[in-house]
Symmetry: C2
Subunit: 345 residues, 2 copies
């Protein structure tokens, strides 16, 4: 057995009062009054005995589990997920809530089903986090359990969600290049059909347009969003004439490929070529030489926002007005891969 299991009645007996008084005092019940002397004595004995309310009993009585389920698709695959959890965690702590973790595989819908059959009982709300920004039609199984989506947009239109501002991030990246004097900026992008693809492309186009730079479709090359794809795409972009003096890459892994392409072409970064990535995958961005300037995804903030929103929904009965989504900014992280273009070339 673990503890002597000190309960509220032990405290009451020890302090010479009733359980009601103890409960009132420890829970700061406004309506009930007790003498300051009693208050002190009860609190003291509670502390001395190391009393803490039994959560199972408390939850049963209050009909509140004080637990939030965090459904995460493939925590394993990405370091990003950790930051989401951290943000959610911190927000949960503010409200005295704890997080129970459920990892879902993306495919098995039956896994999903028995998980939340089990989950429906004990959890007050659910945070559903995906591995990467995408559109999602959440299974009906969650019923009317309050739910907030993280890094995913709800297709049904019922659930609040929070995603990164892909467009704004791309604008910031390209603007950084513009600010250094670049005018010919290639875009090493990807072929996947996800919101990030379209958003980052839109940001790229928009920023160049705002700077009155004519479109040049030959400067946009798409491949798969891995390092080899970045290598290929960069090779292609860097072979157009006149050669671009800077590259904006869809993500840091593609930027890693771009570094290799640059090296093979005898281009030094940032002297001959400036590069900006996206995602701020620190192992890559800091490991590359020179270190990669990139755009950070607001994972911590998304986790935090989602949890706070969920808590707000839990606390207010009319949740309809709380169903709006949020789009969080992606800040620029300056490192060493951007410099002004060379005078010639």
């Amino acid at each position: 057995m673990r503890q002597k299991a000190v309960g509220i009645r032990d405290v009451a007996r020890e302090a010479g009062v009733s359980v009601t008084t103890v409960s009132h005092i420890l829970n700061n019940v406004a309506s009930a009054r007790a003498s300051d002397e009693t208050r002190e004595r009860v609190k003291a004995t509670a502390a001395r005995l190391g009393y803490g309310p039994n959560r199972m009993a408390r939850s049963l009585r209050m009909q509140r589990s004080e637990m939030i389920g965090l459904l995460s698709e493939g925590i394993a695959t990405t370091p990003h997920a950790g930051r989401i959890i951290l943000g959610a965690q911190d927000a949960a702590r503010e409200a005295g809530l704890t997080i129970v973790l459920i990892n879902t595989s993306q495919t098995e819908s039956d896994t999903m089903r028995d998980i939340d059959a089990l989950l429906r009982q004990q959890v007050e709300g659910v945070l559903y986090a995906t591995m990467y920004h995408r559109l999602l039609d959440l299974p009906r199984q969650l019923g009317d359990t309050p739910t907030v989506l993280i890094d995913a947009e709800d297709l049904s239109g019922r659930l609040p969600w929070v995603v990164p501002d892909e467009v704004g991030g791309a604008e910031r990246a390209v603007q950084e290049l513009l600010d250094h004097g670049h005018r010919r900026i290639g875009f090493v992008t990807n072929v996947e059909d996800v919101p990030a693809t379209h958003g980052r492309l839109a940001g790229y186009r928009k920023t160049l347009e705002a700077a009155s730079i004519a479109h040049d479709e030959t400067l946009i090359v798409a491949r798969t969003s891995e390092t080899p794809g970045g290598y290929e795409a960069a090779l292609a972009v860097l072979s157009v004439e006149p050669r671009p003096t800077a590259l904006f890459c869809y993500n840091d892994r593609m930027a890693m490929g771009a570094y290799r392409a640059a090296a093979e072409l005898g281009l030094r970064i940032p002297d001959d070529l400036s590069v900006v990535g996206f995602d701020n995958q620190e192992i890559v961005a800091e490991g590359l030489f020179p270190a990669l300037t990139t755009i950070a995804l607001p994972h911590y903030e998304m986790g935090q926002w989602a949890m706070r929103r969920l808590i707000a929904i839990l606390n207010s009965s009319n949740s309809t007005e709380l169903s709006e989504p949020a789009v969080l900014p992606c800040p620029l992280v300056r490192r060493e891969s951007v410099a002004p273009p060379r005078p010639t070339s």
Copy 2:
């Protein structure tokens, strides 16, 4: 309100039996007998009503929360932690347990607060996972709550723990190089004083010795375990004469630095130089060109082992015999960075 909150009495009424019978049937109580007809009817109505036991009530009655606390240091910082969680998760599911997550900051006071926040949730046991393999003296607050350490060795000698086999992993790495015919193998290592440092060095030495290759301390260079450190160390190792034909690197990030050093020296991998890393950080190992052969850390397996061990402890009253640690193997992950040495040189 969430659900109609279908309870056991609803099922009982609907099926025309008592709650006892329902409970007996749904929980497969051996001692209780019921007619097959009743059995069917009860199960059917339970399913039809979508009944599931209320965990809060169940826990209170059973005095078992069916929850395990996972205390993790800085989930954020490493993609590894995710795999630990996954392993623990899968093992927990086998036993019908759920995981409540607490992320601890590394400062002691916060950790203490987090720990007893966790204990107040009445978790049945605790898994304590660190960010990297190290020695640990766990705060006493856990009292006699069953605890298992992941990726950390318990200094107090009371708690079971599980860590990667650093020595064996290094042996495997060096052996792979030996098997390809290399005889002069440099070791790009780190300066930190952690078990991995000593273990990997020991494995390196041991393997060379077993192959009757004379010690050559000039082939071992230590720097900080980041990419720049790897670059510096590799540069140093590759400048000794005769130049080693292969490099074993303390981790993948240092290997990333070694790649750069090799490139600067005009050495092509794997033709002129073979490289093996450690950690199998996929973003790096797969992103490097050529892809890096490396040693994988058994994070999933550690999480799984720890949870299973914890469950075993929970289920048996004499837990002393279950306090032994485990050292799990680190498999080799073959990619493209190892080849036979060139005939000359």
